[in-house]
């Protein structure tokens, strides 16, 4: 890729606007709530696109394009099965309790529903996860800037960290959210031309289906047995592992995304945030996965395009770059690369803003200094932003030392989010759940995840306690680790809760489904969460049928 002045100018223009938004918003930050939770002031279209963009990190853009080339249309399961149902569920059923309980964070909801130790466990594991996630984004961005612009790794990491720090320090969560929305639009307009050009060059979708085997262009027809498809996953594992436990665990309990919905102006907007976000989310595969499938077709056509190789086998992580190099001239190349940088930065900023809130409210205020004036917590929120970015830089260097850091992170998600979803499901919908049941279930579920990983093997990973079963792919292993963690947490929470005494119903109003009076939705019928969720669900089902 040969870059020209215009490509650097596009990058500089983007950096200028991102910093400008942070600078403008600094005047609006007057309290810790303004800085850490946006003071419940953001309109629906902003919160819903931010809900979506906080999850659209560059690792996803690069990884999904590569998975498109490797697994084909089955990769769409990560969206149409692994995201949309959970986004609709959190909007319709869970957001009333997150928003209605007046909790400032997901761990704080756990404190209100259960007790301090359950909140502490979740706050600490979540803080560690966000630092690792942010560090890995920073590491990947550092490598990208090093390869493309020729900057040193250290300069690349410090420059990207400095920009994210500047705009989150100045404008807090509002600044991060506004920039995520700008980044979302840039990602869409930066990658959409690549999807159009690559599919057109491959002869359209008809041309692609005639050149590739059906397993690459159909999403469901090869799922009856794990050995029938390149993912090595069967329908039950997909539904339970990805479609239920991992997906619901991520979208319904991860404060990184839930925080965006909680920044909405009122209950209806908070509930509609993930539901409205589901509409663009279900079309994201067309700009990230389809170009990868088109690349696989182009490689068979003798058009001059060849799949990037590494050590004699395809290097799927480089498919996106190879397509950009083939289709984008200088100028447009700058737009595409800036879109990639934007997606890294939105992932980083999302993690940093979630970290500073959980640190300030759920760790510092809860355990270190309880009754300080609000100005002190605002100061602590800003300090947490600085040391959150600092720790992320450390995690970026740690990621440089371990070549399987990403696998490690995926595993941590399965260990933490999967049992947490069982805790939330019981906590919100079964009034009999006790604090001791929730805490014991969480710890047992995490232990079950470790045990399952230790007793199984996939692609050389796991099996440190003796191999009892071998999975065809690490994806299948991750799904089953999550299923076991969720099931054990569920069973232990129910068993321990049955042995204890539940809290009186009067204390659970606004926290548990059966104890909270049903509120009549006042919005017009077409703005109601249930209506929008039914519509989104119908469109998603239709997409599955089109690519069945």
């Amino acid at each position: 890729m040969a870059l020209h002045l215009i490509d650097y100018v596009v990058l500089a223009l983007y950096f200028g606007f991102v910093l400008g938004i942070g600078w403008f918003l600094r005047k609006q930050v007057k309290s810790s709530a303004d800085f850490l939770t946006s003071g419940h002031s953001l309109p629906l279209w902003i919160t819903s696109l931010a809900f979506l963009a906080a999850n659209m990190g560059a690792l996803e853009m690069i990884g999904m394009c590569g998975s498109g080339a490797k697994y084909g249309m089955m990769t769409s399961h990560f969206y149409w099965v692994g995201a949309i149902p959970a986004m609709l569920f959190v909007g319709v059923f869970m957001m009333p309790f997150y928003f209605g309980s007046k909790a400032r964070s997901v761990p704080e909801y756990l404190k209100l529903r259960f007790d301090e130790k359950t909140r502490g466990f979740n706050a600490i594991t979540f803080a560690i996860m966000t630092i690792f996630s942010s560090g890995i984004s920073m590491y990947a961005l550092g490598i990208l800037l090093q390869v493309i612009f020729g900057w040193s790794f250290t300069f690349s990491v410090l420059a990207s960290a400095g920009i994210v720090l500047a705009y989150t320090y100045l404008g807090g969560l509002s600044s991060a959210i506004y920039n995520e929305v700008l980044q979302f639009f840039l990602i869409v307009v930066g990658f959409a031309p690549l999807a159009i050009l690559s599919v057109y060059k491959a002869g359209g979708w008809d041309g692609i289906t005639t050149r590739l085997s059906p397993v690459m262009t159909q999403s469901w027809q090869h799922m009856s047995k794990a050995s029938d498809n390149p993912m090595g996953v069967e329908a039950f594992g997909l539904f339970m592992g990805l479609g239920f436990v991992l997906s619901f665990g991520y979208w319904c309990t991860n404060y990184l995304v839930v925080q965006r919905a909680m920044a909405a102006r009122d209950m209806t907007d908070a509930r509609n945030t993930p539901i409205v976000g589901a509409f663009p989310k279900m079309f994201v595969p067309f700009i990230v996965i389809v170009p990868g499938i088109a690349a696989a077709a182009l490689a068979t056509m003798g058009t001059g395009y060849a799949m990037p190789m590494k050590g004699g086998s395809p290097d799927y992580d480089k498919v996106l770059f190879s397509l950009m190099a083939q289709f984008y001239p200088s100028g447009m190349l700058g737009v595409g690369l800036t879109a990639l940088v934007a997606s890294f930065m939105s992932g980083m900023a999302g993690n940093v803003t979630a970290f500073n809130t959980v640190w300030t409210y759920d760790i510092y205020q809860a355990y270190i200094r309880k009754d300080a004036p609000d100005s002190h917590y605002l100061w602590m929120g800003r300090m947490a932003t600085i040391f959150g970015v600092g720790l992320s830089i450390g995690a970026a260097y740690l990621a440089q030392s371990f070549n399987n850091m990403m696998d490690f992170l995926q595993l941590i998600f399965g260990f933490v989010n999967a049992p947490l979803f069982a805790t939330f499901l019981l906590g919100m919908f079964w009034k009999r759940t006790t604090a001791n049941g929730a805490f014991t279930g969480l710890v047992s579920g995490t232990g079950a995840a470790a045990l399952t990983y230790g007793l199984t093997l996939a692609e050389g990973k796991g099996g440190f306690l003796g191999v009892q079963h071998t999975f065809p792919s690490s994806m299948a292993q991750n799904f089953w680790v999550a299923i076991m963690a969720w099931s054990v947490c569920m069973a232990v929470t129910i068993a321990v809760s049955m042995m204890g005494t539940a809290r009186p119903e009067s204390e659970l109003v606004g926290l548990v489904y059966g104890c909270t009076p049903h509120q009549t939705e006042e919005a017009q019928w077409y703005r109601r969460p249930a209506t929008l969720a039914i519509l989104a669900g119908a469109v998603c089902i239709a997409l599955n049928f089109v690519f069945f």
Partner: protein, 59 residues
């Protein structure tokens, strides 16, 4: 609170001007590209930015 449509409109408008200008003045090529992608994208981006600015003025 900031109306994001304004900065987004200015950003995409300016980006469009830069890329369309590049499409008109420079002859950058890509191996598998036919046509002037920079000019097409630039015009689209100017219009996209214009829509944002129009929406922000309307409210």
């Amino acid at each position: 609170m900031l109306d994001l449509r304004k900065p987004a409109g200015y950003f995409f408008g300016l980006l469009g001007l830069l890329i369309a200008g590049t499409g008109l003045l420079a002859d950058f090529k890509a191996p598998m590209l036919e046509g002037n992608l920079n000019l097409c994208f630039g015009v689209f981006s100017i219009a996209f930015g214009g829509v944002f600015l129009w929406l922000s003025r309307r409210s």
